[in-house]
Symmetry: C2
Subunit: 294 residues, 2 copies
Amino acid sequence: MVDLDHYLQETKAAVDLALMVDLPSAGTSKVGDAMRYSVEAGGKRLRPILCLATAHLLGTGQKAVIGIACALELVHAYSLIHDDLPAMDDSDLRRGKPSCHVVFGEAIAVLAGDALLTLAFEKVAAYGLENRQAAKAVRIATVLAVAAGVKGMIGGQELDLLAEGQTLTLQRVEEIAALKTGALFKAAVKCGALAAGAGQREIKVLSSFASSIGKAFQIVDDLLDSRGTVAELGKPVAADLKKAKATLPVLLGTEAAQARADQLYRLATAELKKLKGNTELLQMLAHRLVYRVN
Amino acid sequence: MVDLDHYLQETKAAVDLALMVDLPSAGTSKVGDAMRYSVEAGGKRLRPILCLATAHLLGTGQKAVIGIACALELVHAYSLIHDDLPAMDDSDLRRGKPSCHVVFGEAIAVLAGDALLTLAFEKVAAYGLENRQAAKAVRIATVLAVAAGVKGMIGGQELDLLAEGQTLTLQRVEEIAALKTGALFKAAVKCGALAAGAGQREIKVLSSFASSIGKAFQIVDDLLDSRGTVAELGKPVAADLKKAKATLPVLLGTEAAQARADQLYRLATAELKKLKGNTELLQMLAHRLVYRVN
């Protein structure tokens, strides 16, 4: 039986170490320091871990995929910096610390986000060069770019901005979550699968798994946000509620929202049963993502 | 003899067409419309043209390289949108039209820049996938990412921001220009060379050529800016001077600055003489870039 806590701890440590190597050395530039600040601010490294766990399931080890795993975290970190900007969600607190623009100013924060996004693609290209995996690298870069672009995260952020103060349908709320959170979760799993040389069928099943887990993760995030305290969550409590942003718990109530998360978890694990190999790790990971307490 | 005007016109038209195909259709999203607005706002497509002219010199036609040429322009367009933001250079006018954030608001402008940068790497990956040139694509993506990143354009923009109101040395002014403008000029030529399968020696010579032309181009830009009118330049006149930004003409005077541009032009053309093949097109292009009147 997999010791999930041990796996998460070890894998997070490996990702943290690789990320620090990739980032500009401390003190060489303000943008570099802002990049480090935001990446070091923490986070659970869920996207890299999903990527690595998927590759592991398909028989490919951490060392070969760590660069891709880091690229996913860099894209996530960039999106948080830009989302927090005054012109966007105007959030002063992120993971219990002042947001990047609060510490470094808006101009440097914009540039730090830009630089993290750019570095993500540099990492994917480096994976292709260093491992003689150019063919895989271009497929991974495509998946990452599409997930991050107007049909993915950026599209989701636009819909989210336009949604402020609007009454949204359930369908639209789920659409926003699928783009803002789901797209990169799905990309994490797909990139891990591509790096491990997965076939079309495996990629399809794993994408469907990731899609359900991404949706469930977002619902749980919203549930925790509606109940949590600043100390627990490291971000302003019920910020979405104050801004009158519709979330699934707001629309359906917490019980029905939890039931939807449960259903999505069952859908996700049903997908895993279609795969050969030992899916225990991904299954436990899915459980943790959906039934976490912070 | 090459008809340069005809070449520039035809190549720009081909790049414009390819760019419009790449961008989201009009009216599908605000971010998509902001991307189109900024890319359609014009510009001479100098980076794509440098890329295509370099590939042409090395025997590789437009069709094979147009995706890479577009990626260079997308990176350029993203950088202009973010540079113009209120927190950055706070420029309301770009190419004679209201800047992206003036028309679409800051949030959408940030996202449009992000999306253009993301699309640039998607284009490079697509070049690798569609042309079965994955090995070239990962090298090109690396060149583009490094040129756009903290050791290139973003680093230059940081130095430029920090330079406001400061007294700069000649060396620092040239350093900023090398990063802000030179890095992408050099990347344009290198990417064209890589796509055409150039060897190390050719790449080195062409990079040196591009580096000199990039520096000369920036000096001429500053000279035109110090003399021009809004109608001619499409941006606020002498904006750099008003913000007390040091430029080479400000530091040296216009005559000495022109002499430096002349010298850089001669250095650039001397590099071209080291190459086999018909370098007439690149030479004429270099002349036009340095001795342009707008």
